[in-house]
């Protein structure tokens, strides 16, 4: 028997269309199952992308450390001592931790509470000032749009140069003229603008890059007149090492070289972004699993619906099936007929659900998400692979849904069907 025999398809089509309401209601179960699965998976992906977009532009294998107050007396020092990191610590750390890749010191200037602290001509704004090392660009991508970032020479010569954030630029240069080599006043001191950076990441140390003025950390040390103290350290681990490990080693060495008890937990603080990143990843894995569980549940409910209706259909068509058998329909013909019907109904409803789901996601993306600001969802899509998997699941479900009714149909004997009573 030919699978592509148009009779068979006509047969199936007639059965499905002859009972429009019934077929629609049945198909709706499967439609809804797939639709929800797609929507949920799209939303899950969107959520993940939204979150990842926030992390983008910030090294995920990085850690951040700062100093606190000692909580244990050690080597003659009383507890409750405030201490600072110094430039010499940078050398010690770089020398003694092979897993350490980039070590970048940070200083914060703040805006000293004086209102508009950043001024160019008639334009001014209130922004944070950050003292950075040239290698900070490998920790957080400044996304330089004009000019350049702070470089090694700036650091070595303690130059009065700055990289301004994109928002700072729009405030100071509303006419969008070239800011490079212009002098702006920051906290009363003039700096030459060498670059503009918009930043990418939602993660920031201090203010966002787009909303801050970055100057060489050495320059800031000099201006603050606090010696060579460092406020915060950022570091990344080499590919083979974990950021957590590096963070712990840095803390140990810092304590050893600054006369702090190795067991003192309050003298330093720090966290690794890697850990946060892994946690976020774990959460998304959980969400993905939940989506599949709930989605499959809905789908199974739909399949049971199809199976149930097919059962009724078989019952209703007892006589017809009996006549067909009397006229010489082999069991295989009956099997293929019922199975095909179930398969077609499931597949059509499922494909429709898949299509409507994808369209809905697309529309939501175009007309809502892309226009909304600060949305935690971004680009909610389902991958091609997911669509393929869903389709395969659908077809399998169709077969399962058809199996029980088919067995029921096979039990119909011609005599039972055509008997008059």
């Amino acid at each position: 028997m030919n699978i592509f025999d148009s009779d068979r398809w006509e047969e199936i089509w007639v059965t499905i269309t002859r009972n429009k309401v019934r077929s629609l209601l049945t198909g709706f179960g499967v439609f809804w199952g797939i639709f929800m699965l797609i929507i949920m998976m799209g939303a899950g992906t969107g959520l993940q992308r939204g979150m990842m977009q926030g992390l983008e532009g910030f090294a995920t294998n990085s850690c951040i450390l700062g100093t606190g107050t000692t909580s244990e007396p050690y080597k003659g020092f009383k507890k409750g001592r405030r201490w600072n990191m110094h430039n010499r610590d940078l050398e010690i750390l770089t020398r003694s931790i092979p897993e350490l890749d980039i070590l970048s010191p940070l200083l914060f200037g703040g805006n000293q509470g004086t209102g508009d602290n950043v001024v160019y001509g008639e334009n001014s704004g209130s922004y944070d000032v950050r003292g950075v090392h040239a290698n900070y660009q490998y920790i957080e991508d400044p996304n330089i749009t004009q000019g350049r970032f702070i470089n090694e020479t700036d650091i070595a010569q303690k130059r009065k140069v700055c990289v301004i954030g994109s928002e700072v630029y729009t405030t100071l240069f509303p006419k969008k003229n070239d800011p490079i080599e212009k002098y702006i006043r920051v906290n009363g001191i003039y700096y030459q603008v060498v670059g503009v950076g918009s930043g990418i990441s939602d993660i920031s140390i201090g203010a966002k890059t787009s909303q801050s003025v970055n100057i060489p950390f050495t320059t800031m040390q000099q201006i603050q007149n606090g010696g060579d103290i460092i406020h915060v350290l950022t570091a990344t681990a080499r590919p083979y090492a974990s950021a957590k490990e590096v963070q712990e080693k840095i803390e140990t060495i810092l304590k050893a070289s600054n006369d702090i008890s190795p067991t003192d937990k309050q003298a330093t603080w720090g966290f690794s972004l890697e850990e946060q990143f892994n946690m976020v990843n774990a959460v998304f894995l959980g969400i993905a699993m939940l989506v599949w569980i709930v989605g499959s549940g809905t789908l199974i409910a739909g399949i049971v619906g199809v199976s149930n209706i097919m059962m009724v259909t078989v019952k209703e068509r007892t006589k017809e099936i009996g006549v067909r058998r009397a006229l010489g329909a082999k069991p295989s013909a009956i099997i293929s007929q019922i199975m095909s019907e179930s398969l077609i109904l499931t597949a059509m409803a499922g494909m429709l659900g898949l299509t409507v789901g994808v369209i809905t996601l697309h529309l939501a993306d175009v007309y809502w998400l892309q226009k909304a600001e600060n949305m935690f969802l971004s680009d909610p899509v389902v991958s091609f692979g997911t669509a393929i998997i869903s389709t395969v699941i659908l077809l399998i479900c169709g077969l399962i849904a058809g199996a029980i009714p088919t067995m029921r149909a096979l039990q119909i004997k011609a005599i039972d069907a055509i008997r008059e009573e």
């Binding site: 028997m1 007639v14 059965t15 058998r325 009397a326 010489g328 082999k330 005599i415």
Partner: protein
């Protein structure tokens, strides 16, 4: 053509019911035979066994010298398709198929292509005088027309034997006569025909009447003697 040797059949739903008690029967090729009997006499069971719709417990059933026994469903379906033409009391046409498609159905199960089988179906419908009704659905046809479509369907596979179960049961007397006349005509062309009926007028139109009573053949009467 049909040879039954001591056929026994018992139904085991609840109390065992011995329906056929050793039926011996011989029907020659080209004969037209009717089976009569009160309800419960076993005539429907006999027809079902003859039509390979039901199985018998003991004995032998030869159809055209082929032993019909312990067949697989698939084999049984093939025999039903090629050797037997069924005619039912309530026509049993498929409601959503038109007359031509209904007639062509047995050929569909033989794997004959759509165009060819519809062409053959049209010939048979023409013989029944229903050429103009080929595109009509069964519910647009009268009882007599429906039964003629059913007869065309029974004939299309060129079976060895026609089995008719109360073919006139749902028809008025005038249409009944027409249908019987058609069956007679078909028989005249050499088709072995077996009719289960309780109407004497129908039975009288056949060559032989087999009277069944309580699962045994009471007598076989030759009509016209």
């Amino acid at each position: 053509m049909i040879k039954l040797e001591h056929i026994n059949k018992t139904y085991y739903s609840g109390a065992p019911l011995h329906v056929l008690k050793g039926i011996d029967l011989n029907i020659e090729k080209g004969e037209m035979v009717s089976i009569m009997g009160a309800s419960g006499s076993g005539k429907s069971t006999l027809l079902n066994i003859l039509g390979i719709l039901d199985i018998y417990d003991t004995g032998n059933y030869y159809l055209n010298n082929v032993l019909i026994k312990d067949l697989s469903e698939k084999k049984a379906a093939t025999f039903r398709n090629t050797m037997i033409g069924f005619i039912f009391q309530s026509f049993n046409l498929i409601g959503f198929k038109n007359a031509m498609e209904n007639v062509a159905l047995p050929l569909y199960y033989q794997g004959v292509g759509r165009r060819k089988r519809n062409l053959i179906a049209m010939e048979y419908l023409d013989q029944m005088g229903l050429k103009d009704w080929s595109r009509h659905l069964p519910n647009e046809l009268s009882g007599g027309q429906k039964q003629r479509v059913a007869i065309a369907r029974a004939l299309i596979a060129k079976p060895q034997v026609i089995l008719a179960d109360e073919p006139t049961g749902a028809l008025d007397s005038k249409t009944s006569e027409e249908v019987i006349q058609i069956l007679r005509d078909v028989n005249k062309e050499g088709m072995t025909t077996l009719i289960v009926t309780h109407e004497h007028s129908v039975a009288q139109a056949t060559d032989k009447i087999i009277h069944l009573k309580d699962g045994v053949i009471e007598n076989i009467a030759t009509v016209g003697e």
